[in-house]
Amino acid sequence: MATYQLDITREHCPMTFVKTKIELAKLKAGDTLEVLLSEGEPLENVPRTSREQGYDVLGIEPAGDRIYKVIIQK
């Protein structure tokens, strides 16, 4: 079971979602993706839309100034 990292703190809509989706699509069952993202739209919607697509959100942790780490598992 592998862990992957993705930093979308410099991205803007819709590439925040696009890059997350493309990385999530590469995961095998049990793999996790750690996404670094900014507060606001990405923080509100990346965890929600990941859950809606059947992934588990294992945690959301502060990771800097207005930056969070969201851990998503397939």
């Binding site: 803007h12 809509c13 819709p14 590439m15 979602f17 696009v18 989706k21 493309i22 839309t49 809606e52």
Partner: protein, 157 residues
């Protein structure tokens, strides 16, 4: 059943096509089935030849095809400044780390967005399926488009 979004891409303007592909990629990325139906000026977005080229069946449609151009020649709907504005916008987009229409089109392909072309507009403009990027799945009429869009949201841009 998955959420669905259908967009009728009528405009060939740089800014409006940016809106089409922003919505399309955003929706596909959050799990929507997305169907794009290009007609009239919007067909510019899916032409294989992205600059100005004489595509079309007859001398008249070829000339028209040249002036319409493709994605690279798309004007901005306001303040186009004789074609300078799309370049300025692309520059600003890159500088501000916002995806350009070309990057969004690549993302749309990667996300499995469905591209369709309007049979009637193609007929007028003398275009064939071979004039379009290979991702164009099919050439459709109104009835087929309605069938594909049924049960989802539809936008006209």
């Amino acid at each position: 059943m998955a959420n669905k979004l259908a967009i009728i891409g009528f405009s060939g303007d740089f800014d409006k096509l940016t809106a089409v592909f922003t919505l399309a990629t955003g929706a596909a990325a959050v799990g929507y089935e997305v169907n794009l139906f290009f007609t009239f000026w919007g067909l510019d977005a899916i032409k294989k030849k992205q600059g100005r080229s004489f595509v079309g069946g007859s001398p008249l449609t070829k000339l028209f095809g040249f002036f319409m151009g493709g994605m690279k020649a798309a004007p901005v709907s306001r303040l186009n400044f004789l074609g300078a504005s799309p370049r300025i916008f692309r520059h600003l987009m890159r500088r501000k780390n916002v995806a350009t229409p070309e990057e969004l089109i690549d993302a749309a392909k990667a996300l499995g967005v469905n591209f369709y072309a309007c049979e009637m507009a193609m007929h007028i403009l003398g275009l064939s399926k071979d004039d379009f990027i290979p991702e164009v799945k099919d050439v459709l009429g109104v009835a087929s488009f309605l069938q594909i869009a049924d049960g989802g949201q539809t936008l006209f841009i």
